[in-house]
């Protein structure tokens, strides 16, 4: 993408105003999207985006500039802008010698989607449409999307680091609308992995379509969700977002260092039920949040955040680790070359417990069984979180009974972690997600075994 000697000159230029650290992050993205709606392929769209972001750090201040022009002239102009932004200080001359670091590939790609014909991508969605519509005569509408993207990344910094990576992600999503006497209901499902077009040899797109359709159809018969505090059992692979929201964000070192996290100063303390071991794992092959290196060039890692209920560590990026004089954890990520990196999660999940999931349901006399959760959000400073139940059922006398209409679950992160009283042995990863923070979205994964929270507030309309 950019020659080494150009990078060295650009970094030297970025340091001219006295910066202590400079970095070039360049990326070249190309992708395809296909949209199906209302029974027809509405459009096929292709896009590309290439550019570089240059960061200069001086003391506690960061200057950042980005450009779509990756010629030496364009990069030097951005370097000057970043250097100017970082300081108003004395000039200095530093040279940089880059040493290329080999990247251990976490998610190898068999079939580059860019080399797959557009017709094959269109065909996938036709199959999805047909499968969803044949799931039930009440299915009134189906929309589906396919997308793939390949990003080539190059990172060089004034510490001499030079790293490259190539990331390929492929995704298919489907949303169905069912129409009945009680109005319209929706169902959604998706599958996405850090891999190429071979994804569709491994999964059945029809199955994904039928799942979305079934969710919509089931809710036609649903009754309003209850309101109030109840035990909630969360199906394996459907509630990892709870941990992402309820505690993951609070373990990001940038929020911790500003005192904007309820977990500040709690390392070594029991912060969760002893059943809970929580990890963030960028090395989980082919998962949606998997990365070979983070967006600062640090190799991804398997990081234990909570071990048997005890908080063991936070997640770190370059800036926060440097400030604390400790190693990075491979969690420095950014949405694109236009953004500054921040501490971000990768794949965040709870390890397996011991119990059979059926036993957990059987031992719940009155509660809610959540089979699919939608999006959510958290206030990291208070720990208050909220997320939507998109497929849920009542549990009565130890059995799953009637389906429920949609409603939010709300709770407080630290409290919920302590209230986990049962943990299953059926670990599964959930849907691919996009985590938003400070206006930037990055791909993340989550997962957990079936588990029970002794008490959560269910925000339905029924008494």
């Amino acid at each position: 993408m950019i020659d080494d000697d150009v990078l060295e000159r650009v970094l030297a230029s970025a340091l001219r105003t006295g910066g202590e650290f400079a970095e070039v992050f360049a990326s070249d993205w190309q992708g395809t999207g296909v949209g199906l709606d209302d029974g027809r392929i509405e459009q096929l769209s292709t896009g590309r985006s290439r550019g570089a972001g240059i960061r200069v750090i001086r003391g506690e201040s960061t200057g950042f500039a980005h450009t779509a022009d990756v010629s030496e002239a364009g990069l030097l102009a951005a370097a000057r802008a970043a250097a100017e932004a970082a300081s108003h200080g004395e000039a200095g001359v530093r040279t940089v010698a880059l040493v290329e670091r080999s990247t251990r590939v976490v998610s190898p790609v068999d079939v580059d989607p860019a080399k797959v014909g557009k017709a094959a991508k269109v065909e996938l969605l036709r199959r999805v449409d047909e499968a969803a519509r044949s799931a039930g005569s009440a299915i009134a509408q189906v929309s589906a999307g396919y997308s793939d993207g390949r990003t080539r990344i190059l990172i060089a910094n004034s510490d001499g680091l030079l790293a490259r990576d190539e990331r390929v992600r492929t995704l298919m999503r489907v949303s169905a609308v069912a129409n009945g006497d009680t109005g319209m209901q929706t169902g959604f499902d998706s599958v996405g992995h850090t891999m190429g077009f071979e994804l569709f040899d491994k999964i059945s797109v029809e199955e994904v379509a039928r799942t979305a359709a079934r969710r919509a159809l089931t809710k036609l018969k649903a009754r309003p969700a209850p309101s109030g505090s109840l035990p909630v059992v969360i199906k394996a692979g459907s509630g990892g977002v709870l941990f992402h929201e309820a505690c993951g964000h609070g373990l990001e070192a940038d929020l911790v260092s500003k005192g904007a996290s309820v977990y500040r100063g709690k390392v070594g303390e029991l912060v969760a039920s002893p059943l809970v071991t929580l990890v963030d794992d960028g090395t989980m092959t082919h998962e949606w949040g998997a990365i070979s290196i983070d967006d600062e060039g640090h190799p991804s890692q398997y990081n234990v955040l909570i071990q048997d209920g005890v908080l063991t560590d936070y997640m770190w990026d370059f800036l926060r680790a440097r400030k604390e004089g400790r190693p990075q954890s491979g969690n420095g990520r950014r949405q694109s070359y236009k953004d500054l990196p921040m501490v971000r999660m990768t794949n965040t999940y709870v390890l397996n417990g011991q119990e059979e999931p059926d036993d957990i349901i059987r031992d719940t006399s009155h509660g809610v069984y959540v089979a699919h959760l939608g999006g959510g959000s958290v206030n990291t400073a208070t720990g208050d979180f909220v997320f939507g139940m998109t497929e849920a059922y009542m549990i009565e006398n130890g059995e799953i009974t009637e389906p429920l209409r949609e409603g939010n679950l709300i709770g407080n992160g630290p409290q919920v972690l302590r209230d986990i009283d049962r943990l299953g042995n059926d670990f599964a990863m959930g849907n691919p997600g996009t985590c938003g923070k400070d206006g930037q979205g990055v791909p993340v994964g989550d997962g957990q075994p079936t588990l029970r929270v002794a008490s959560l507030t269910v925000g339905g309309t029924a008494a």
Binding site: S49, E60, A68, K219, G388, G459, G460
Partner: protein, 452 residues
Amino acid sequence: MTSIDRSGELLALAERVVAMAGPGEQVEAYVSRGLSTEVRVYEGEVEHFVSAQSEGIGIRVIRGGRTGTSYAGTLDEKIVAEVLAEARDNLGFAEVDEWAGLAEPDGVAVVPQQLWNPDLELTSTSRKIDLAKQLERLTLGRDKRVRVDDANYADSFGEAAVATTTGIRAAGRENGCYVSVGTLADDGDETQTGFGFAVGRTVDELDVERAASDAVDRATRLLGATKPESRRVTVVLDPYVTAQFLGIIGGTLSGDAVARGRSLFAQRLGDEVATPLLTLVDDPTNPLAYTATDIDGEGLAARRNVLIDSGRLDRFVHSSYSARRLGAAPTGNGVRGGYAGSPGAGCLALNVVPGSRSQAEIISGIDDGILVQQVQGLHSGVNAVSGDFSTGAAGLVITNGTLGRPVREFTIASTLQRMLLDIVEIGGDVEWLPMRAAGVSLVIRDVTMSGS
């Protein structure tokens, strides 16, 4: 700041692309370019200073009812030619849609808007940094319990042009700036958060004092909040909360959602869908609206549209596609998410025709209720197709006409359909907010509140 005033250049590029249309082809080129800066201050020092520029082109080609699109984050003419070729290639894989097509000039006159103030370009870097520092200082000075998470200044300068083979030629530019601050308030073991912001076309318009006091009030007013008991109550939505709900209701009135069978109001034009008190208008020509604009994303004149008239559903908002497909008149509501997206139908600047009383007067007449000052998780808690909603909320208890203790960690739930009918009063306190809807106090009866 580099001058961005190169008007004409973008439109000329869009026109060059359109001129390359082949026989039987409709072509649209949308070109945009922007510059922005962002300063974040923490503990009196610059935490980061970002200077950004972006540009890109999106091209749509339609032939024989098939649509292909392509885009690139550059205006390099060599790549632009490739983007056009790629869009052409892509249309071969789409299916025929008899309503596919581009916007056509419809003779509606543009209502000019003041969206650009040249003074903003003259603002020095140090002034920008000082504004963020001033905001942090003012916020900290108001209350000892309050800490600042981050204080920011940001500005942006954008210009865009769109041209089509159907005769659309439109270009515009817009700039603006804002300051914002995130706060934390501590009381013993408890921490609550708040935020404040101010928006303007020039830095002199920024009400930094107001941003600071809002951020302090929002963080401190919830200290000591408890979880209320589950029950049915009357809720008063603060203007900021109402604006968020209006945005969601606006989504259900999108012609795109209607055309594709995804709007709960699809078959209900002419029906009484809301209390007769409610008149909902989308009016981007009102200069008070922060999202005021003169042209929509397809290059048609933006215009005032009454969507709900005294409770009766009067109109949906349309892109050229949804208008054509539903046999409706265009409403100038093509919305596009930058050069990479295709235009859809969406509201541009919603507002509710206000009532007369202040929020305090309204509250004085309520025996048992909740003033909802913030909602959490609205995006995950509302199903805009079924209408079911459930959202986390926080606010103040209303007892016998008086505001009382703070409450949090509860949900309010209903359906959008019921909520529109259950509105019992609309306040006179319109607040123009930097979002696609203006706020006003809204009183809704019989809402389910889930707490303890």
